[in-house]
């Protein structure tokens, strides 16, 4: 299911929360919407899910226009909100059954989907326990389960790992990866860059309601002219000039046996570089590849760090 967002705009009083936002997510694509708190991510996905009416712009989910045909468009969307929006006084199965019924599932089909979802999220053993007795991580998983129970074409996750322990975060990311592998399109908002890098094919970076960059991680890094770095430790000194002349190497600085080499693509250039070092009779004791990340991209674009970007 393709999502096409065109020139979306929404204000709250004088404050423009989302300004002229356009993006496209193709069938089966995993798209990350990144930005600090208050960047406009939640406002954007609230409009995409039909929860908030835009001041201007157009949202198409497949061939459905969200603003004019919200009910039908919602059939294709699964929404996982940032907050844990589950009934604590209902069991996991009861929570899933309720939202399954709201999405039109009934009888044996509903039973099967509830069982599958509980299994997928590792909650089958706690199906009949009240959600309020779950750990935070388990509640997060149930929160996700409600969003994907009806097998949506597009799953929208709004910072689904906020406030969970590393183990639960891994479990959640694993589940999301499995869903993506099954061909479900993903729109994933986060301010954790490592999650976006792990899950998403492409990312859009939102700041103060404006999309300031979009592309794959490598494209964004390349666009900014940022290079990969190789931190090397050798058994004997080498000639820096020879290293600099190796293919793809932009710079090399050595201090005795330790040095750092800047290259355009570390993973591709590493073999040739190691050969050039070996040609000088030196052996590599250790090598560390440092790739510029999205955090660096965001810092470069806004001059601010992502996680303390402020609201």
């Amino acid at each position: 299911m393709t999502l096409v967002v065109s020139r979306l705009r929404r204000s709250f009083g004088d404050r423009v929360a989302v300004d002229d936002l356009s993006l496209r997510i193709d069938d089966g694509e995993r798209y990350g919407l990144l930005g600090p708190n208050g960047a406009g991510k939640t406002t954007a996905i609230s409009m995409i899910c039909g929860l908030l009416r835009p001041d201007a712009g157009r949202i198409m989910v497949g061939d459905r226009e969200v603003t004019t045909d919200a009910v039908e468009a919602r059939r294709e969307i699964g929404f996982v909100p940032q907050e844990i929006a589950v009934y604590g006084d209902l069991t996991a199965a009861e929570n899933l059954r309720l939202f399954g019924r709201l999405h039109g599932s009934r009888g044996a089909e509903l039973d099967r989907r509830v069982a599958e979802t509980l299994e997928l999220l590792g909650l089958a053993g706690r199906a009949h326990d009240r959600a309020e007795t779950f750990s935070g991580g388990m509640q997060r998983r149930l929160n996700i389960g409600i969003g994907l129970l009806h097998r949506p074409s597009l799953l929208v996750l709004d910072e689904p790992t906020v406030g969970v322990d590393p183990q639960s975060r891994n479990a959640i990311l694993d589940a999301v990866e499995r869903l993506a592998a099954d061909g479900m399109s993903l729109l994933y908002t986060t301010h954790y860059m490592e999650e976006a890098e792990r899950l998403c094919d492409r990312v859009g970076i939102l700041d103060e309601g404006v999309m300031i960059a979009e592309g794959s991680r490598r494209e964004l890094v390349a666009e900014l002219g940022q290079l990969d770095r190789l931190r090397l430790s050798l058994d004997r000194p080498v000639d820096e000039e020879v290293i600099r002349s190796a293919p793809g190497v932009a710079d090399a600085v050595f201090d005795g046996v330790n040095g750092e080499v800047s290259v355009d693509d570390a993973r591709h250039r590493l073999t040739a570089l190691l050969a050039a070092i070996a040609d000088q009779g030196a052996a590599v004791r250790s090598v560390e590849v440092i790739e510029p990340d999205l955090e660096a991209v965001f810092l470069h674009l806004t001059g601010r760090a992502l996680r303390d970007g402020g609201a």
Partner: protein, 367 residues
């Protein structure tokens, strides 16, 4: 819509404190009222005309415990005033002539123990020898002749009530059942508003909107869920008091119409309160306070007949007044035509509140 309504019911009745309020407390109160039926705090009975022939005969059987005697020209008005101000449970007025009935004065709904005690004494007089024989035994040939001439075989007790009948003259169990139905139906509705506040705070209300269901159906589900709670509460008290306390609710259609309309008023107020308050604790505090205050103002805690005139006017601005008024009529044997005016008022209140609740709720969800 049904899924949301069913979930509201399930959650409400899963809470133990709600179970206590719905299934236990109303019946404890009705039971306590029933047990204390006819009693009043004041047990002393006033006696006027103790030296009359009837007085002498009957007082011999009645004994002198808890009696206060009144003499003089103003004896009747003094005794009546003492009853009216609650200083006496009731007052017996013995006539000068044996053939005339004995008067027993009491406030409606209070002091019936004294009347029963007086009835017993009169019966004993009659059982002993008959009034004429007793008069002869006492050497009162003239009175005995009067009794014979009047054809009176036993003294009569006529009970006079001061003021209007309380709760339409219903007995204590019936009036308790009626008032507790109204009080607890409204209370159940307002306490159910907490769930709505919790849903909003947790983001569940917003999440409902991501389902492919029109917003009006979600709002309808929320209202119907609360209507089921309030109707269940009312129906439970009506049926249980009919079965276990032998309360006659009268015409089931008329009673049903009043109960359902009042339950709808309570459900609408529940959704309104749940939409306007942000914290669950606030909803509980405001809900319980409002339910008790409206019940008191509307006559569900004390009979409206004893309210000062201004409060009686204020009572008419509460739905409780109209529900109690209508149910009093149906319990006294009235049909749906007899409560048409009350049903009309309740219908208008329901329509206004329901419409407001739906609009407010929808606006809150979609803004």
């Amino acid at each position: 819509m049904i899924a949301i309504s069913a979930t509201i019911l399930r959650r409400y009745f899963r809470d133990r404190s709600n179970l206590f309020f719905v299934f236990v407390l109303p019946f404890v109160i009705i039971l306590l009222v029933g047990v204390s039926a006819g009693s009043s705090l004041e047990t002393e009975i006033g006696v006027v005309g103790a030296r009359t022939p009837t007085g002498q005969i009957v007082l011999e059987e009645l004994g002198s415990d808890d009696l206060r005697f009144f003499d003089g020209d103003a004896a009747i008005s003094d005794a009546t005033r003492a009853v009216g101000t609650g200083r006496l449970a009731g007052a017996i007025v013995f006539p000068e002539r044996l053939a005339d009935p004995i008067e027993y004065v009491r406030l409606p709904g209070f002091g019936s123990d004294g009347a029963a005690r007086l009835d017993d004494a009169v019966e004993l007089v009659n059982a002993r020898a008959g009034l004429r024989a007793v008069a002869r035994d006492l050497g009162r040939e003239a009175e005995a002749a009067d009794v014979a001439a009047a054809g009176v075989t036993m003294p009569m007790v006529r009970t006079e009530r001061i003021g209007d009948d309380l709760w339409g003259g219903l007995d204590d169990s019936a009036s308790a059942a009626l008032t507790q139905t109204v009080l607890f139906t409204f209370l159940a509705g307002l306490t159910a508003s907490v769930l709505l506040v919790e849903d909003r705070a947790s983001g569940i209300s917003r999440r409902h909107l991501t389902a492919p269901v029109p917003t009006w159906r979600i709002v309808a589900g929320e209202i119907v869920g609360r209507l089921l709670i309030t109707t269940a509460q009312a129906a439970l008290i009506v049926v249980a008091t009919a079965v276990f306390f032998d309360v006659d609710w009268g015409d089931p259609f008329a009673t049903g119409a009043v109960v359902v309309l009042f339950a709808a008023v309570a459900a609408s107020c529940s959704v309104l309160l749940g939409s306007m308050v942000r914290r669950p604790e606030s909803a509980t505090a405001i809900g319980v306070t409002a339910a008790l205050v409206l019940a008191a103002l509307g006559g569900a805690m004390a009979p409206i007949e004893i309210f000062p005139p201004t409060m009686q006017v204020i009572a008419r601005f509460t739905p409780h007044f109209w529900a109690i008024d209508a149910l009093t009529v149906t319990m006294a044997g009235g049909g749906i035509g007899d409560v048409a005016a009350e049903l009309g008022v309740l219908l208008a209140v329901t329509a206004a509140l329901l419409g407001t609740a739906a609009v407010v709720r929808r606006r809150l969800l979609t803004r």
